[in-house]
């Protein structure tokens, strides 16, 4: 469904080799870890609750108050502390992103292994489904799906709908990736041997195939998380989040709807966006390093480094057949 990160991944893989991949990985891990820690320890990071309105001495709400000692990131249109919303928002953004990512990873791996291992019509069907999903524009499809589900009045949290819709739509690239890996593993000697001694399919998948592709699945999951977090923020911005449990995207939806821009309240709309970038960038960096470790890429192309080809210390040696006049070299 999403060819974008396949592409990003491919380019970054190449890039990584030389450019201090481990440091990039560390940065990625740091970004992800801090975001997760902020989410987990949100109550410890702020003396307020996200819905609490801050008031001045006279009891009036401090709306759009710029950053101060009391509110390091200022307040929103209703006088609520932005920093507090940000750390509590991490809980929603990351939970939705992670759950959706895991669903996508699970479905993708399941289909990928099935298609790769059994081949035949299962494989064919899977490939056609992913082809179709690739050409249907994803955002309109999601919006329409969410709108329809909401119309059904199912009495579930909008967040659950988001998790399901994202998870159920973004598994195709994982499936393709896993499939091609399984295809190559299937051809290896020990799988033949295992089959020859009468091992069942389930046994082979569990003992021989899964352990081989597990690292790939892990790396891929981290990458999918970044997509899921991004998509969630977009949908929430368009008003599909849960207003009672604001994620970073929902915060931006509020900020935009309530004219934070025209009010000059940059402390309201900058932090949530930076937080989204923080988390997505962390996942991408981490995921790419993980994947590169598993799957190093090849060397160079023919137009690289014109002059570095020759290092020429003119080795003195006696011209045996007499000196030949220097031609102009062509």
């Amino acid at each position: 469904m999403n060819p974008r990160w396949t592409l990003l991944k491919r380019n970054l893989l190449d890039f990584w080799q030389t450019f201090r991949r481990n440091r990039m990985g560390l940065v990625g891990a740091f970004l992800v870890l801090t975001a997760v820690l902020a989410a987990v320890f949100a109550p410890l990071l702020s003396p307020y609750t996200p819905t609490e309105t801050m008031r001045d001495a006279g009891g009036r709400a401090l709306t759009f108050a710029p950053p101060s000692v009391h509110a390091p990131l200022g307040t929103d249109d209703a006088g609520r502390d932005v920093w507090t919303q940000l750390v509590y928002g991490a809980r929603i953004s990351l939970t939705v992103g992670f759950l959706a990512g895991f669903i996508a990873m699970f479905i993708g791996s399941l289909f990928g292994i099935t298609a790769g291992y059994f081949g035949g019509w299962v494989d064919n069907l899977l490939m056609r489904i992913t082809d179709v999903l690739l050409v249907i524009p994803d955002l309109p499809l999601i919006l329409v799906l969410v709108a329809t589900v909401r119309q059904l009045d199912l009495k579930v949290s909008p967040l659950v709908i988001l998790v399901l819709v994202i998870g159920l739509l973004y598994w195709t690239s994982t499936a393709r990736l896993i499939r091609s890996q399984v295809l190559s593993i299937k051809e290896r000697q020990y799988v033949y041997r295992a089959r020859a001694i009468g091992a069942g399919n389930w046994h082979i998948v569990r003992r021989h195939i899964l352990p081989q592709i597990m690292p790939l699945i892990v790396a891929n999951t981290v990458l999918i998380l970044s997509t899921a977090i991004l998509i969630e923020s977009g949908l929430a911005f368009l008003g599909l989040g849960d207003p009672t449990q604001p994620s970073w995207g929902t915060m931006l939806n509020f900020a935009f709807d309530r004219n934070a821009v025209t009010n000059g309240a940059w402390w309201f709309y900058l932090p949530p966006g930076l937080a989204i970038i923080w988390a997505t960038l962390g996942c991408v960096l981490l995921g790419n390093v993980l994947e590169e470790m598993l799957n190093p890429r090849l060397a160079s192309h023919h137009l690289e480094g014109e002059q570095s080809i020759v290092t020429h210390p003119p080795a003195p040696f006696p011209a045996r057949e007499g000196g030949v006049a220097k031609s102009d070299g062509g």
Binding site: N11, L12, F15, L139, S233, L238, G249, G273
Partner: protein, 325 residues
């Protein structure tokens, strides 16, 4: 592969996808919602049970869902009859057509700019792999990838309107509506700067990545070494042998990326209150105007599928390996 077979296969695939979209649309809007009458006339309209029954018959909702209702819907859609928008009280088809031009203008501008810049930059990055240009280009696309589109829009909106005095939204200032063209056009251009910039930054990273990996793949081919052995300079090799080969996949990838382009338009039009399909899609969503939503989805999906098919056909003209035979 034989060109006719190739084309037939691509066209067949597009038709199947089209069919899937149409069925999906039908299922989502006609079958899933509890009360089909509500789905057609709107949720908050008060009507008597008799009227409801009359409407049910008028819309054929008393007949079986399949095949009768499906075929009726199909007939209506193919004639451009997409129902009536609840919120605007106008035929959906009419509303869509009115917005289409604006969106095409915005997307078109963004695409052209980003393709030119992205392809050039990607070419340079792939050629001068692992140099400062490459690192810079990749860092740019990495960040462009991680930035939420709408947030980039908001930032540019804030910065552009505060520091450059650019308009915060719309296509034309209200005071200029109805004025002669020479007043309106500069004003429209003024309004287009920020949304176009947002889309350009967004798409550019994409095209850069595509071009970078494409050119690197091509530069690893044997015929590039042959060209070098002939005595061509890097620049000559690039221009005469690598460029066309590297651009070929771009045609297909641009088409595949169209879905992503559409997402960009929805966000950007929303942020800049730009009066196009994307903004309308978002409004329909907020107002729960299902006929409008359904029509817009159908239009967008069909356009993207057709564009993909066009790209496939175009490809057969560009690549001699498919063209001949």
């Amino acid at each position: 592969m034989n060109r006719r077979d190739y084309l037939l296969r691509k066209i067949f695939f597009s038709l199947v996808t089209l069919a899937i979209v149409v069925v999906l649309n039908f299922v989502l809007f006609r079958v899933l919602p509890g009360d089909p009458v509500r789905a057609v006339i709107g949720r908050n309209v008060r009507i008597s049970a008799d009227t409801q029954q009359a409407l049910r018959e008028q819309f054929g909702l008393d007949r079986p869902v399949f095949p009768d209702q499906f075929l009726t819907a199909l007939g209506q859609w193919s004639r451009g009859n997409l129902g009536v928008s609840w919120s605007l009280r106008k035929p959906v088809g009419e509303v869509l057509v009115a917005k289409l031009g604006n969106t095409l203008l915005l997307i078109g501008l963004g695409q052209v700019l980003s393709i030119i810049l992205g392809v050039a930059l990607g070419l340079l990055a792939g050629w001068k792999r692992k140099t400062a240009v490459d690192v810079g280009a990749l860092t740019f696309s990495l960040i462009a990838w991680a930035i939420p589109t709408f947030w980039l829009g908001i930032i540019l909106l804030a910065a552009g309107s505060t520091w450059l005095g650019l308009p915060t939204g719309g296509i034309v200032s209200p005071s200029n509506v109805g004025k002669p063209l020479y007043t309106v056009l500069p004003d429209v251009a003024h309004h287009l700067i920020l949304p176009t910039l947002t889309l350009t930054i967004l798409y550019m990273g994409e095209y850069m990545l595509i071009m970078r990996s494409s050119i690197m793949e091509v530069l690893g081919e044997d015929y590039i070494l042959t060209a070098k052995a002939k005595g061509m300079s890097h620049w000559q090799v690039l221009r005469r042998h690598a460029l066309k080969n590297a651009m070929l996949p771009i045609v297909t990838l641009i088409a595949i990326n169209l879905g992503f382009t559409v997402s960009g338009a929805i966000y950007v039009e929303t942020v800049f209150s730009y009066d196009g399909l994307g903004k309308m899609f978002q409004t329909a969503l907020v107002k729960q105007d299902y006929p409008l939503l359904q029509g817009a989805f159908l239009l967008l999906a069909v356009s993207v599928i057709l564009a993909n098919m066009l790209a496939d056909i175009l490809y057969t003209y560009l690549d001699p390996r498919v063209k001949a035979a």
